[in-house]
């Protein structure tokens, strides 16, 4: 037990967790209310709120982190989220099928996007940046073609106070996030597939010579990433009740930034799923807490930018020093 505890203590994710804890402590202190008011930041409702919105980024960030660890990059998650959401909305609201069929269709749309990305990267050998940039445009474009600028009002077909699996709808995304993070963290650390992703990101040639089927593993990573993004998009439209083609615009960069803040190296071979999820929480807390400070409105972009740069610079500095 003691040895296990010790190895846990040393894992990379704990330093990200530490940043998050300090961040929470800072805002709890800074936003301490005057007497007679409840704490604006440190309360249960606010915690659920942070988790709910962070989870939408976090589910996609799991896939993004895996792509980054494999040495690639995925620019498509925001667009795939929108496409999956719009497809779900179309099947559920316009065609009148059950929600489960809509959700499945949305995820299939994500799967197809992932297959296209994987083919472009592995078979056509396009750089991942270009391949996924193309898929981003295609997915967003199809979403706009489906909606023609309208939106699908899912909330009109969901019963008021709808509870998926008997739970409040706000909890859906956080629960899915926690389960998926645990599963993929385990797969990445304890299974050959996960280790192969690290190996490919670290040194693709060496991975090839050591007998790893590089093409297959890489393809699987892009497909898994797109499916996770589509799952996030489906949850987004279900809990928000609106399917729109312009949903999640620009989320790809926030998702990549979360992975990097969580310890992933854009050169590949380094990073973690749980780190990426914690990274989305670091941004989620900033997005939630900064609006509570009067006068900070025009500073928060700056603060978020500096946080990214400082965390990554320190990370690199330490990595270099240790090497």
């Amino acid at each position: 037990m003691n040895a296990r505890l010790k190895s846990l203590w040393k894992t990379r994710e704990l330093s990200t967790l530490f940043v998050l804890a300090l961040e929470v402590a800072f805002f709890t202190w800074y936003l301490w209310p005057e007497a007679g008011r409840s704490h604006p930041f440190f309360n249960l409702g606010n915690l659920v709120l942070i988790l709910k919105y962070s989870a939408l980024y976090g589910i996609a960030a799991i896939g993004a982190a895996m792509v980054i660890i494999s040495g690639g990059v995925d620019l498509a998650p925001g667009a795939v989220m929108a496409l999956a959401g719009v497809v779900t909305g179309h099947i559920f609201v316009i065609q009148g099928h059950p929600l489960s069929v809509g959700v499945a269709s949305g995820i299939v749309a994500g799967l197809l996007c992932g297959i296209v990305s994987a083919l472009l990267v592995v078979a056509v050998k396009l750089p991942p940046f270009i391949a996924t940039l193309g898929v981003m445009g295609i997915a967003r474009g199809i979403a706009f073609i489906i909606t023609e600028g309208r939106f699908f009002d899912l909330s009109s077909r969901l019963p008021a106070g709808w509870k998926p699996f008997g739970l409040p709808a706000d909890w859906l995304a956080p629960i899915v996030l926690v389960v998926l993070a645990a599963v993929f963290q385990y797969l990445m650390q304890r299974f050959q597939w996960g280790r192969a992703i690290f190996a490919i990101g670290g040194n693709e040639t060496a991975a090839l010579f050591s007998g790893i089927r590089v093409g297959r593993v890489k393809a699987s990573v892009y497909i898994v990433a797109a499916v996770l993004a589509s799952l996030s998009g489906v949850i987004l439209v279900v809990i928000q009740g609106q399917g729109r083609a312009d949903l999640a615009t620009g989320y790809e960069l926030d998702i990549i930034a979360s992975s990097v803040v969580g310890g992933a190296s854009l050169t590949g071979g380094r990073g973690s799923v749980v780190g990426a999820v914690l990274g989305t929480l670091i941004f989620g807390v900033l997005r939630n807490a900064l609006p509570q400070i009067p006068g900070a409105t025009f500073y928060d972009r700056l603060i978020v930018g500096v946080v990214v740069v400082v965390i990554v610079v320190v990370d690199q500095f330490i990595a270099r020093k240790g090497a």
Partner: protein, 348 residues
Amino acid sequence: MHRVAARFLVPFQPSRAAEARRQWAGTALVVAAVAALASGACGKKEEAAAPAGSPPAKRYRFAVMPKALNLPVFTYARVGAERAAKQLGNVDVIWRAPEDADPLKQKEILESFITQGVDGIAISCTSADLLNDPINKAVDAGIPVVTWDSDAPRSKRLAFWGVDDFKSGQIMGEEAAKLTGGKGKVALMTSLGAENLARRLDGVKESLKKHPDMKVVETYDIKEDPTRSAEIIATGMSRYPDLAVWISVGGWPVFVRNALDPIDPAKTKFVCFDTVPPAPDLLRSGKVQVLIGQKYFGWGSEPVKLLAGIKEGRMPQQKVIDSGVDVVTKDNVDAYLEQWKRWEKGEE
């Protein structure tokens, strides 16, 4: 177990402890930087929040939310809101919105204001029905919500302050008919999703019905983006060179100086919502013929006064309060600009 499964199920022992240990040193630095920045950015506000002398009444924190921070028209609302807060003396205004008009981000910020327990919320809704839920939740939790500029009529919001959109749309349609002699091709410009713009568009269409020779050839969705409006105008003009008039139910084309360059004013007229600079200059140079002005400064000041009143137990007389509009043409633009300067200085 066959081979494929066996390949995947080989367990691995993680050995990344050494690398992990090195991460720790840096974390403290990061947090210090965040702390320094946050307190640097916001420190001055804390002083302002401290009551001077004996507190006259309970201090209120009102969240005032425009659709987006990148739309210049809302900066006047901010001037108005902060002036009203100063006049009232016991109000702090939190001016906050997404950087661009992203309905989901606006919802996230609105929800965070509710869990934070602000004392009142004044909001211009990017997407009306999307916000019904959180608005209702706020009102149920005892946080008064008023809307301004863009309403959420199917929510429990206590009041709306802004233009009667349908009526102002009708005015735009009538002005367009006057300019064109009641005939020719019409192109409409809007952003889909916002209630107020949809109602303005309905007003335009309603008044155009009286002029059967005016034909709407296209309704463009420019997604609240001034740059995109320039692009649309350019492509629209090459597609319909004989267009008689553009009607834009939002001010995007007149927020930038060169969006209207592809238009030949001798052939194609332009009727546009909003009168904020540089729009009056475009009116003077003849690129635009009619501007419909809203009460931009009032957008900020009136909802803040309404909220303060509600807090003191004075509910608004009506649910929908019509602010009225200013119809600005070449003939009255100079007088309007004089008035604008007074508004900017904080005079009535």
